[in-house]
């Protein structure tokens, strides 16, 4: 309770003693940290607890009252076939999209780490998928993959690979819709991963590669034996950002396919939204969201582990 009094003294009293107090790092440090921590506890910590509270209850958006129903909500969730599709999709989409990103981001990071004329423009264009708000870039995909007016349909038609008049419904066929959602997620997370890898590549001392070359190692041997191991920690960071973005995505699916055709491309984020907001079942929506938690926790642990031995880089 003495804290407010101390603070008031500091502000009003401009004596040597007050300065001394502001200079006292054990007071000033926590004081400067507290607004951020209070904000995060109130608007991330508390809601996170509430997600678990809802998931063990029968809460709806319509009413303030709810009672606890134990594991009933989870049982309903697990029995829901759409939920199972969403859970599987979330994992599969994330793995596929990030495998693509690992390969392509390494190549892109490599070519971008060199200096060349027009680099600024190339970087601007290559970064567009990451810099554009996802809701708007998903709209450009929606138009690009339009069943009637997609330019790809026209090209395929001209090449006589499809019959004119029976266009490919890119978002209307199960496999193509899945490929489109995976593609959109890979496309939008690729630039950040490439940029992070580029930074990692430029931080590798050139002497290491020069020495390996003197020792007779070819390009690919140097790439896999020298560059890749040094790049691994930063690659981890790049991919973890992509995992979080893809695993917790809702907007890409919501705008591109609305989870369809049917429920083929539903993911945890979108299904939680449809159930919790549009369906009005807070409890069920929360229970669906909670299944993201184990993966996010894993990501956290990986990140923290990496962080604890990062001083090698």
């Amino acid at each position: 309770m003495s804290q407010p009094a101390v603070r008031r003294t500091v502000i009003v009293d401009e004596t040597v003693g007050a300065h001394h107090l502001l200079d006292n790092e054990s007071v000033l440090g926590p004081l400067m940290l507290s607004p951020l921590l209070v904000y995060l506890v109130a608007l991330v910590g508390v809601p996170l607890v509430l997600v678990f509270v809802y998931a063990f209850s029968d809460a709806t958006t319509g009413s303030q009252d709810f009672s606890f129903v134990g594991l009933q909500t989870f049982q309903n969730t697990l029995a829901d076939p759409v939920f199972r599709v969403a859970l599987r999709n979330t994992v599969v989409f994330t793995v596929l999209a990030q495998l693509i990103v690992i390969v392509l981001a390494t190549i892109l990071g490599f070519v971008l780490s060199a200096d060349f004329r027009g680099k600024w423009l190339v970087r601007f264009l290559v970064l567009l998928p990451w810099t554009t708000p996802i809701a708007l870039s998903a709209l450009t995909w929606l138009w690009m993959l339009d069943s009637l007016f997609s330019p790809f349909n026209w090209i395929l038609g001209e090449l006589h690979l499809i019959d004119v008049g029976t266009p490919v419904a890119w978002l209307g066929q199960d496999n193509l819709a899945v490929a489109s959602v995976v593609g959109l997620n890979a496309w939008r997370t690729l630039p950040l991963a490439a940029v992070i890898l580029m930074a990692g590549l430029t931080s590798i001392p050139p002497e290491l590669n020069e020495q390996a070359q003197v020792d007779g190692a070819g390009f690919w041997k140097r790439f896999f034996d020298v560059t890749m191991p040094l790049l691994a920690p930063i690659m981890m960071v790049a991919i973890l950002f992509g995992i979080v973005a893809t695993f917790t995505d809702m907007a890409a699916v919501y705008i591109l396919t609305r989870g369809g055709p049917g429920t083929t491309t539903q993911v945890l984020g979108s299904w939680s939204f449809y159930t919790g907001i549009q369906g009005g079942s807070l409890a069920q929506g929360a229970a669906i969201g909670i299944f993201m938690f184990p993966v996010l926790l894993g990501v956290c642990i990986l990140m923290l582990r990496r962080a604890s031995r990062v001083d090698v880089v």
Partner: protein, 280 residues
């Protein structure tokens, strides 16, 4: 190292062209579409890569005159500016404390802040929509002003810790020897030296608020209060009727300035990312 790779300039350009096409094609296609005349656009059999009728500005004009697009833009800018102010107000002191004052446990606090960053909106939007409703803020831009700093402050703090750490301690210590308090030294020496870092935080905070979709569609229901991200895909599509040229114009007109802003600050952003709190 790169110079000695087998990627001779020609093949490097080939690779770059492939990536540029992959990344930018949807936007190029959108930019091409936005000037198309209805008759040209919606005729199956027209070569889609040509203007079969003269290009027209009329759909771009429609976006500005007959839709709520400008309202969305104004809302997004207002929200962005206020959230930037809140984010700086809570991140700057926190980052300085982590970088300079808290010693060993500063690293642990930085970790905690980072863990908060990993809790996704797709998990929190349900309880937050209830909290927002309880505060009477549902369907106002203030609901987003309240919630967006949870997305931006952890990341900004993380970047700022990196920037503050890269400033030599001697500079503040000299200021303190000259009679300034710790806080005075922060304001008079560290902040002026961190201006580029602060600009980076401003730009990325603003961009993060533009990027959100789920909170905006969960909290806001009336077109008057929507942001660009939520409003364009939900309000400009009426039922099954898509005004494709106007939609594509909206996407392109937002994408380009945002991408320019990112590009000016990208190097510092990446530097901050690798210098940041995770480096412990």
């Amino acid at each position: 190292m790169v110079a000695r790779s087998p990627l001779v300039p020609l093949s490097r350009w080939a690779v770059l062209v492939v990536f540029v096409v992959l990344a930018a094609f949807p936007f190029a296609w959108a930019a091409f579409t936005m000037f198309k005349d209805d008759g040209d656009l919606y005729t199956v059999g027209h070569v889609p890569f040509l203007y079969n009728s003269p290009p027209t500005f009329s759909h771009v004009k429609v976006l500005f005159t007959d839709t709520a697009f400008l309202t969305f833009v104004r809302n997004s800018v207002e929200i962005g500016v206020i959230v930037v102010a809140i984010t700086l107000a809570i991140s700057v002191p926190a980052a300085y404390a982590i970088a300079r004052l808290t010693g060993q446990w500063g690293g642990r606090i930085a970790m905690t802040v980072f863990v908060f960053y990993l809790v996704p909106p797709t998990l929190l939007f349900l309880p937050l929509s209830r909290i927002v409703a309880d505060l009477g803020l549902q369907d106002t831009i203030w609901s987003l002003v309240l919630v967006y700093p949870t997305l931006t402050a952890p990341f900004s703090t993380w970047l700022l810790v990196g920037f503050f750490r890269s400033i030599p301690r001697d500079i503040e210590e000299q200021a303190m020897v000259d009679g300034y308090s710790r806080a005075g030294a922060l304001v008079r020496t560290v902040l002026p030296l961190s201006v580029p870092g602060l600009f980076t935080v401003v730009i990325f905070t603003f961009a993060f608020t533009m990027n959100d979709f789920i909170y905006a569609v969960a909290f806001i229901s009336s077109s008057d209060n929507m942001t660009v991200s939520a409003g364009v895909p939900t309000e400009l599509i009426r039922g099954d009727v898509f005004f494709w040229q106007s939609l594509m114009a909206a996407a392109v007109l937002v994408a380009i300035p945002v991408a320019l802003a990112y590009n000016f600050f990208l190097d510092r952003f990446v530097q901050g990312l690798s210098l940041g709190a995770v480096k412990g």
